[in-house]
Amino acid sequence: MIRILTNGAGLIFMKIGIHAQEGVEDIIARKKREYEQAGMIFWGYGGNTCHPTTFIQPFAKTQAEHQAQVFLMMHKMTSNHNADPVSAKQYSEDGIEWKPIPEGIQVVGSRYAMVIGNLTEEQFDLNLRNLVVAMGPKRGALGTDYIQGHVDKGCFEYHERAETPEETELKHIDLYSPLKPPYAVFLK
């Protein structure tokens, strides 16, 4: 883990919980099988702060220009998400050209998905104070000023600070995975 969190590293922080009426543990088990069958995972998500073409793709491409890989880091929490478990049938990298969802992959109840490699279940604390917003209008702000209220995910660069964090600024990470091209897609 220490290896991944070096200064300047790009990461996406995301809170996860029950999704489309399915518990986190079930989702994780299903997604691991997905990786075995398809060699990649579509991790479904929604909301407006990690849009595939304006946030995730440009962010991951910029990191890739420096030979750096972006990691999706997930924080488990208790939540309710009662959206209907409608399965996506098609995906698109640009929202224009649509292709059938690859064999072995199933995403439900989401408008977007991040495209990731295998999931590593490992627990460690991530200090939100060490995160600097990398994309969008809050670029340059601290993770502690960004992950608030309805905002539960974002694109960050890791920059370690000297100050000791407050208890509330530490978020435990439960699993992580590298993003793979095309990084994020639209679903329908």
Partner: protein, 278 residues
């Protein structure tokens, strides 16, 4: 409690109902209702009796200003406004609304992408320009410069004015950098900053709900001499138009014709009928 003016709120509500839903991919992020009303007053006063061109206006400040004036809720307003935007939904929404309420003599709109040279019919024609461009968080203000340049090209050789509405939050370094870049670029074009109203407008912006924009007013300080040519934007200038690795790829956003403009889109709901009826 502050006074609530029902007529003004209802007029602004008409404007808001008329705005096409914003497309975040091209930085359409709409101004909130109260600020839209106040901005209309501000523009009405500052650009009183002038011929004004708007370079992009998803917020509908132009329409709101002219409509409030038309409804006798504003004492003063520009003589005329022409809106240039690359989103046909926005262009048509202005034309339809002005037609419905009968003030097409005051406001007009046409399709235009700032990537293209400014059509000669719009060059040196207006007394003032207004722009609320993509704010340039990750392009060092390049997108703001492009919009402002078009505004300047559209204004007269002397006594021209401009209003530039962009992000302003002292805690966000990029907003201050862009303000710096844009004031410098304006000076380069012989425009000085004549008034600066910091951090006034709020937007419907999920990931930065408290980020506000300022009114940076500029004024031509030296008369333009000689000719100029309005060139197409070079590719390196729009490679990061909507942010890093997020180039301008769209020429126009076209409106899909629908019979129920302004109502819920059919696909978003389903009617469940009473038993035995359909």
């Amino acid at each position: 409690m502050a006074m609530l003016n029902r007529e003004i709120m209802n007029a602004v509500s008409d404007i808001i109902m008329n705005r096409p839903l914003p497309i975040r991919e091209v930085d359409q992020i709409y101004m909130k209702a109260g600020d839209l009303a106040l901005q209309s007053f501000f523009i009405g006063q500052r650009f009183r009796d002038l011929d004004v061109v708007f370079i992009g206006d998803g917020d509908a400040v132009a329409l709101s200003t002219m409509y409030l004036f038309h409804c006798d809720l504003l004492d003063v307003a520009p003589k005329s406004i022409h809106l240039l935007d690359f989103d046909e939904r926005i262009v048509n929404s202005v034309i339809r609304f002005a037609d419905k309420y009968r003030f097409t003599n005051r406001i007009s709109a046409s399709l235009y992408n700032v990537i293209d040279p400014l059509p000669s019919t719009h060059q040196r024609r207006y007394d003032a320009f207004y722009t609320n461009p993509p704010w340039g968080a990750s392009n060092e203000g390049e997108s703001v410069k492009a919009f402002v340049e078009r505004g300047i090209q559209a204004t007269r050789d002397h006594n021209a004015q401009g209003a530039i509405v962009i992000g302003d939050d002292p805690a966000l370094v990029w907003t201050q950098e862009v303000l710096h870049v844009i004031q410098e670029a304006s000076l380069g074009e012989d425009f000085i900053v004549s008034e600066m109203v910091p951090a006034v407008h709020n937007y419907h912006l999920d990931d930065a709900p408290h980020l506000r924009s300022c009114n940076c007013l500029v004024r031509r300080a030296r008369q333009r001499t000689g000719t100029y040519s309005s060139e197409a934007l070079s590719p390196d200038r729009y490679a990061r138009f909507y942010g890093r690795n997020n180039p301008l790829r769209i020429r126009y956003i076209r409106e899909e014709l629908s019979l129920n403009v302004g109502r819920a889109v059919d696909q978003t709901y389903k009617l469940e009928f009473l038993e035995g009826k359909s």
